[in-house]
């Protein structure tokens, strides 16, 4: 499931890195160009197509009434899924979700859930019996690196444009889904004590440590995940957090706050 990279390219990236450069000319903490297009799927309650450089991720939100969980009878339910479909990368295969896909879905979910972006109490229709279920489905279309940040951005963008389809289920008029926070995931890789944000697919292939920080609009941290088979010094983690907070603020202000 890992991307293959030739030794010569690896050397090339490494030598550039020693000079303080990246293959696409970015600085180490610079994101690729971001574009977010909302409401691209009419059939979905909310949707967003996110482009992060050449990476493309489509997120659709569907909602329907259903039964609450037994231990939270008065709360709505969020279910997040990610499909790493084989059209998106030579290393994706059809079949049941891979470990990478599951981790991705659970991290997108963690951002939405832990930031309390959606008021689950407000999604109760009939206490103990009927609540709104929010399905967040992530479809990776083109994996050119850092699909996690793109997916996470897509999820919140899609939620911000979600209309609760109340009329379709005889529950009154449709209304805009209230969203209380805007969690942003920011990912960096560590390679030779260099921290590179928004890694491209080749950069991901050379690094074996990745740290994702999810921040709230308030500037707090609501989720982190270290991934990969490398190690990280605490100071490196703190440095990533400082930059991640700044980056997330920029992205939030530029793209998601109306």
């Amino acid at each position: 499931m890992t991307n293959v990279i030739s030794e010569i390219k690896k050397d090339f990236i490494y030598n550039l890195l020693l000079k303080g450069e990246r293959i696409d000319g970015r600085s180490f903490d610079q994101y690729r160009e971001i574009s977010i297009e909302r409401d691209v799927i009419r059939k979905a309650e909310g949707s967003a197509l996110v482009k992060l450089g050449s990476s493309q991720v489509l997120v659709g939100v569907k909602m329907q009434p259903g039964e609450p969980f037994q231990d939270t009878p008065n709360r709505g339910v969020i279910i997040t899924n990610a499909e790493l479909v084989p059209l998106a990368s030579p290393s994706f295969e059809p079949g049941p979700p891979s470990e990478v896909g599951i981790e991705l879905a659970r991290l997108v979910d963690r951002g939405v859930r832990e930031s309390k972006a959606i008021d689950l109490d407000a999604l109760c229709i009939e206490p103990g019996r009927k609540v709104w279920i929010v399905f967040i489905d992530v479809h990776i279309l083109d994996d050119c690196g850092n699909i996690l940040d793109a997916a996470s951005l897509g999820a919140i963008a899609a939620l911000l444009s979600t209309k609760v389809p109340a009329s379709r289920f005889g529950l009154g008029e449709d209304y805009i889904l209230p969203v209380r926070d805007i969690p942003i995931a920011t990912t960096a890789i560590e390679f030779n004590d260099v921290l590179m944000f928004d890694p491209g697919v080749d950069e991901e292939a050379i690094a074996n440590t990745r740290l994702t920080i999810i921040t709230t609009a308030e500037g707090n941290i609501c989720g982190t995940q270290k991934s990969g088979t490398g190690m990280l010094r605490p100071e490196q983690a703190y440095r990533i957090i400082d930059i991640a907070c700044e980056k997330a603020k920029e992205i939030r202000e530029k793209f998601l706050e109306a």
Binding site: D71, I221, Q225, K226, M231, D242
Partner: protein, 252 residues
Amino acid sequence: MIAMDETDISFFKDGLRLDGRKADELRPVKIEVGVLARADGSCYIEMGGNKVIAAVYGPREVHPRHLQEVTRAIVRYRYNMASFSVEDRKRPGPDRRSYELSKVSREALEPVILTSFFPRSVIDVFVEVLQADAGTRTAGINAAAVALADAGIPMKSMISSCAAGKVADTIVLDPMKEEDNFGQADLPIAMTPGGDITLMQMDGNLTPDEFRQAVELAMKGARDIHELQREALVKKYNQMTELSPAEVHACD
């Protein structure tokens, strides 16, 4: 189970936690090495109400064979919860949570395993949670690291794991079930004794400053656990004054 609100619980009484601990205190830890006869290495750990057993098999042949790597051993880690380990019966078998935990736990241990010593082979780590009380992943990693050492797998160092959390606006070490369920944040880490972090996860809500405090506290907990892991291993090998007949046979 009745849903409780965060406000229904008071986490501190006279400055002490629900189970009488101080904010920076670990729950009692018990570690036993070599508890399974068939496994190449094994470890049983109790951390508070958690009871976890880990077994290591390998290095051994890889099945299915296409998974093998020419230059190194692969490491597999299976985190599994017994159906009776939690309040409401867990449906047996892997779920999405256990897939994620298996992945990050494997990545917590792999950095210290000298996999290049055993090309084309696999090191299998199986972790069974028998009783759960918040912190099963950290208990699993602690047991697995000891089981790897017990199996004689060459490693650059030990790995020790511990979580810190936030309850009632206070950073606490090693959260128990109530603190995890109704608390404000949970931050598990794993690290080498030298302070290289190999696992770091977090959910909840922390300011960057609180995040640092929680990392420092979890690292302190992990250092204490490392001491207990070392003691348990030393104890086992001190007892091995003479080889048992079965072990002599295995050496032939």
